[in-house]
């Protein structure tokens, strides 16, 4: 036996960036969150019930943010493409749900389920017909510009067909339930559940299926993967399809409590980028935790900073975290 060195413990940097959890960083983030909330409750100079209400709302909003960010981080993690069309694809899926409901009279959640394969196919086509050639050149700016153009195209086609006047869809469920004395909107709870479900499903697909194995291999080393017989172009298309499908879940589930205009998705694009970078580019748990973190920060922050002032807090803390941990919360060191 020629190998004499003992195997070193798997270094943190070598773990799989797509699905790795990282116990230490999870504990640190949890600790900071608990301490921060405790400070707000004790020294915050606001009614505890009010803070709880904002906290619950913030977590639910964070769930929506996480849902939008999951597809973005998957696409970046595997293809290295910064997908500017993510917000537009979100809007597209919302309008698809609207059309399925208004023309076929489908139940909202049935329409959402139908939208998932449609967006998957859309993502597949975009990657295989538009982006594959550019991705293989290993250039980042060209796919980025294509997705930016695609985003403008989608928004304006929607504007052409549906006009700029707001639409709305009927939700089969409404009302709210009480959590720890705070009121939580049922539809937002469902969206939150969707985020957790999508994150779990993506992790499962990546960890357990042969396609997931191929996706992780391509993310780690595209050339190496092609040499062991992996069709890299197909994996790229599959990944973009999965990213688009997860955005379909997001779009469908937030339609009931979002004003449906062709630019509806854009407000999420910037925040989704912040969340993906904060959580660590290409990390699925990072997108989930980052989304919840930003949601809570923005909502609880608005207790103290009126209007869009809470966004200043969000971006301020975002810069601070990147200063301390440039690779993002769950990101692997480059």
């Amino acid at each position: 036996m020629a190998i004499t060195e003992a195997p070193a413990a798997p270094a943190a940097d070598k773990r799989n960036p797509l699905t790795a959890g990282g116990t230490r960083i999870t504990l640190i983030i949890g600790g900071i969150a608990v301490v921060g909330l405790a400070l707000v409750y004790l020294l915050g100079d606001r009614e505890p019930a009010l803070i709880t209400q904002y906290l619950v709302s913030g977590l639910l909003l964070g769930g929506v943010y996480a849902l939008v960010s999951l597809g973005l981080t998957l696409i970046f993690g595997v293809l290295g493409i910064v997908n500017f069309a993510q917000g537009a694809m979100l809007t597209l899926s919302m309008y698809l749900v609207y059309v399925l409901q208004s023309s076929l009279g489908l139940n909202l959640y049935v329409a959402v389920v139908l939208t998932i394969p449609l967006l998957f196919g859309f993502g597949w086509l975009v990657q295989s017909m538009l982006l594959n050639r550019l991705t293989e050149d290993a250039s980042h700016d060209r796919p980025l510009l294509v997705t930016l153009g695609l985003s403008l195209l989608i928004v304006n086609v929607l504007l052409m067909i549906f006009g700029g006047r707001p639409k709305s869809v009927d939700a089969p469920v409404s009302g709210s339930i009480e959590i720890l004395g705070a009121l939580a909107d049922t539809q937002r709870i469902i969206a939150f559940g969707g985020a957790v479900l999508v994150a779990a499903a993506l992790t499962l697909v990546l960890r357990k299926t042969s396609m997931g194995l191929a996706i992780r291999a391509v993310a780690a080393n595209g050339t190496g993967a092609s040499l062991v017989g992996v069709n890299v172009r197909r994996v790229y298309a599959m990944t973009f399809g999965l990213g688009a499908a997860s955005v379909a879940v997001a779009g469908g589930l937030i339609t009931p409590f979002t004003t449906l205009v062709p630019t509806a998705g854009e407000q999420f694009t910037t925040l989704a980028f912040v969340i993906v970078v904060l959580g660590g580019l290409g990390s699925i748990p990072g997108a989930l935790v980052g989304g919840l973190f930003i949601g809570v920060l923005q909502t609880v922050g608005s207790l103290y900073l009126p209007g869009s002032g809470s966004l200043i807090l969000v971006f301020g803390i975002f810069v601070l975290i990147l200063f301390l941990r440039p690779q993002g919360l769950f990101g692997a060191k480059q």
Binding site: M1, A2, I3, E5, P7, A8, A9, P10, A11, K14, R15, N16, P17, A20, T209, S210, L213, A214, R216, A217, A220, N221, T223, G224, A225, S226, L227, V228, G229, V230, N231, V232, A332
Partner: protein, 239 residues
């Protein structure tokens, strides 16, 4: 019958002809060595054969099929597989997962693919590293992993790019034994190597390349006695 046939295959990068028109026939089950100084076109030849670079001209036949211009994954699935001098494992995955990706080409069921991969990992002597992250393997282990990934594709022919480079002499012997046993199982082997002792011990025929062209081709003993080869590559001391 020849397994691999090259007919006037060349590769140019702009004005630079990295690989001149090469015509070559490799019979089934040959152990074929290639030597030559740096920049001779050895790695370019491998890249063209493995489908990573499209040839600028010529035709390649493998096992009776025209593989000219095929993509790397298609070529690999056909049974013509290369390894790299600088190993390219999927660092964030375990050794077993690395090999499983390759064996998926042969076995569709995830369970079968894993079973086959595990057998290949044992075959190359990496059983104790089965669940280790491949990024933590020492160099000799990475070389074995490269071989394992290639073998998991059940290749008809493997192209080995300096599989012994970076190993100390005591590490080389078991790898050479492994190569011999792979060949004994019926796999055709083409290898680029700088370590002349291994080249002489393993090659059935030897090709010397120089500046993208064939300088000499024949039995190893004849080739290294060739004055041109001595001038271009081996140096006076070797003879």
């Amino acid at each position: 019958m020849s397994l691999l046939t090259l007919d006037g295959v060349s590769k140019s990068f702009g004005g630079l002809k990295a690989l001149g028109e090469t015509t070559l026939e490799i019979p089934e089950h040959e152990f074929f060595g290639i030597i030559g100084p740096n920049g001779a076109g050895k790695t370019t030849l491998f890249s063209v054969l493995a489908g990573q670079l499209a040839p600028s001209s010529g035709q390649m036949m493998f096992d009776g099929v025209d593989i000219t211009g095929w993509s790397a994954d298609k070529t690999a699935a056909q049974g013509l597989v290369r390894t790299f001098q600088l190993m390219r494992p999927f660092e964030s995955m375990t050794v077993l997962e690395n090999v499983t990706i390759a064996s998926h080409n042969k076995y569709r069921s995830p369970h079968k693919a894993r079973e086959h991969a595990a057998a290949v990992v044992e075959r190359v002597g990496l059983d104790s590293y089965m669940y280790a992250m491949s990024g933590t393997l020492p160099t000799a282990g990475l070389k074995r992993l490269e071989l394992a990934r290639a073998l998991a594709l059940e290749p008809r022919m493997i192209l080995l790019d300096e599989v012994l480079a970076g190993l100390v002499p005591t590490e080389r012997a078991p790898i050479i034994d492994l190569l011999r046993s792979i060949h004994a199982e019926g796999v055709t082997v083409m290898f680029v190597e700088h370590i002349m002792a291994a080249v002489m011990a393993l090659s059935e025929r030897l090709l010397v390349m120089h500046e993208g062209r064939e300088l000499a081709l024949g039995l190893p003993e004849e080739v290294i006695a060739n004055q041109q080869v001595i001038d271009a590559y081996l140096g006076e001391d070797y003879s």
